[in-house]
């Protein structure tokens, strides 16, 4: 562990991993509740197009990916509301458009851009620059602030959009906000976890936590703990066994899911007996 902290890039990567481990499950609980578990994936693909664009235009990848993903968030809500396209088809359109656009733009870009695209797909230990850390920190804090203000309304919309509307909550605005929050998480996670796997950190810890929990709040809290543990430990592990961090982090989260899913069987049985 000491050796690991000797490297500047590792310290930065660990902070970035902790940020994504903290905020990703917090958005994931809403996405899972709304049955939009794949929305994060769609956002990841759109952000990939942003990275490709950044290579092509020579702009900074994080802001370009953020803008592209935010536009994608508006677009998917627009497609779902205004056209007869079903939600899952709208998502599929994002997937294809994002990955095709990302590879296309990166291939058009000068130099070896398309090979460095790989580090954005599965994460990389060495790519978090000192300046990036500030951007990631600001994005993560803005997610927490937005959740502090709108979290309850998002919860009401996830529980029942009709009832939420009767309570005066602007359901469409909240849905768009949720997509934008997912887009922010994707951008925060793209450096260390990678765009293809970042949405797993939104969903897998939530799926693991809900094996045991009885309330929305406790699901969110336990999911954050699982998210933090798997992203930080997975990143450290990937340093020692020399693999990309994204797969290591996600496999660890899946291991948490498996352990809790098995442990939950006797626990639930006992609860039933006590009830």
């Amino acid at each position: 562990m000491i050796a690991l902290l000797d490297f500047d890039f590792m310290r930065r990567a660990l902070v970035a991993a902790a940020l994504v481990g903290l905020i990703a499950p917090l958005i994931g609980v809403f996405l899972v509740q709304r049955r939009l578990a794949l929305l994060g994936d769609g956002m990841g693909h759109v952000a990939l197009m942003g990275v490709g664009l950044a290579f092509l235009l020579g702009t900074a990848p994080i802001p370009t990916a953020m803008v592209t993903a935010a536009l994608g968030a508006f677009l998917i809500e627009f497609i779902r509301n205004r056209s007869r396209t079903a939600g899952d088809v709208a998502l599929a359109l994002l997937f294809y458009g994002g990955i095709a656009g990302g590879v296309l733009f990166a291939s058009l870009a000068p130099g070896k851009a398309s090979s460095s695209l790989n580090s954005y797909l599965f994460g990389s230990l060495s790519t978090v620059a000192a300046g990036d850390l500030w951007a990631l920190g600001i994005l993560a804090v803005s997610v927490l602030v937005i959740l502090a203000i709108f979290g309850r309304e998002l919860f009401a919309v996830c529980l029942d959009p009709d009832i939420a509307q009767v309570q005066g909550i602007r359901v469409r605005a909240m849905s768009t906000l949720m997509a934008i929050l997912a887009a922010i998480v994707v951008v925060v996670g793209m450096r260390v976890v990678g765009l293809l796997l970042v949405s797993a950190i939104m969903i897998v810890p939530v799926a693991a936590a809900q094996q045991l929990t009885r309330s929305f709040r406790s699901t969110a809290v336990i999911a954050v703990v699982i998210g933090l543990i798997s992203s930080v430990a997975g990143l450290a592990g990937s340093f020692y066994i020399e693999v990309p961090p994204g797969p290591a982090i996600v496999m660890l989260a899946l291991a948490c899911f498996a352990v809790l899913a098995i442990a939950a069987v006797p626990i639930r049985r006992r609860r039933k007996e006590l009830a």
């Binding site: 959009p161 009832i163 009767v166 939530v206 009885r214 309330s215």
Partner: protein, 256 residues
């Protein structure tokens, strides 16, 4: 003088050019318990959705507490009790969280839940006799208990009007009895209750008025007066503009 709480005047709602509701005129006053009856496809659900502002009327007017629905702001006074929560089975949601969700509104965005809001949720859970289950997952409760939780949710925000969609559907006799006792208590507290139902027998004793939407959209007819005798529904073709039949025998249209 009782307050007119819901006033519907010549309401028409259409989907894709098809009239689901046509020329419906109904006034509902404070403290009434209305049974909204009619066969499938007669527009019962559309009518309550229109009252709740979830469907836009094509023509006609809806006023809530004397305010046209477009300008109505006091949505916490009206609450929908659905059959079940659509999202309730994905992430665990506790009974307490469900009931407290009745207090979520844009006006309370910038502050935590108040003491008064927590107290009213506590009271509501006692009213439906499920305080002991507050920490349980909503979907661990029986269908009848879940429906009582949703009633508590509506009570938690101190709604004056409860709109209930098929509250007794799929419940066994014991649960129907519990729900019916709860509704009786709410009626005694002066709540206005609108119940969409197929099974009038279950709640007949507390219904003050039944409104029947006909299978033919042109004959949505209601009546004032005591609850109808089950099976006594006859039919009235003469009311072309969907009148409330005033104080006449409980004779209403069920089919064209």
């Amino acid at each position: 003088m009782t307050e007119t709480i819901i006033s519907i005047e010549r309401l028409c709602v259409e989907f894709d050019g098809e009239h689901v509701l046509e020329d419906v005129t109904i006034d509902i006053t404070a403290g009434e318990v209305i049974a909204l009856l009619g066969p499938n496809g007669s527009g019962k659900t559309t009518l309550i959705r229109a009252i709740l502002g979830l469907e836009q009327p094509g023509h006609g007017k809806i006023s809530l507490f004397g305010t046209p629905i477009k300008r109505f702001k006091d949505w916490h006074r009206i609450s929908l009790v659905p059959q079940r929560l659509p999202g309730a089975s994905s992430i665990p949601v506790s009974v307490w969280e469900t009931v407290m969700s009745g207090n979520i509104a844009p006006r309370s965005r910038w502050r935590p839940f108040s003491r008064a809001e927590k107290l009213s949720a506590t009271q509501a859970l006692h009213d439906v006799d499920l305080w002991d289950r507050r920490r349980d997952r909503l979907d661990a409760l029986s269908g009848g208990q879940q429906r009582r939780v949703l009633v508590a949710r509506a009570l938690a925000c101190n709604a004056d009007v409860l709109v209930m969609d098929e509250p007794t559907a799929g419940l066994d006799a014991a649960n129907v009895a519990a729900l019916s006792a709860l509704l009786t208590a709410l009626k005694d507290q002066g709540k206005t209750i609108i119940v969409v139902t197929h099974e009038l027998d279950d709640i007949e004793h507390l219904v003050t008025r039944a409104i029947v939407l006909g299978a033919s959209k042109h004959h949505s007819v209601g009546f004032d007066g005591p609850p109808p005798v089950p099976g006594a529904f006859a039919h009235d073709h003469h009311h072309h503009h969907d009148a409330i039949i005033d104080k006449t025998p409980p004779v209403v249209g069920m089919q064209p």
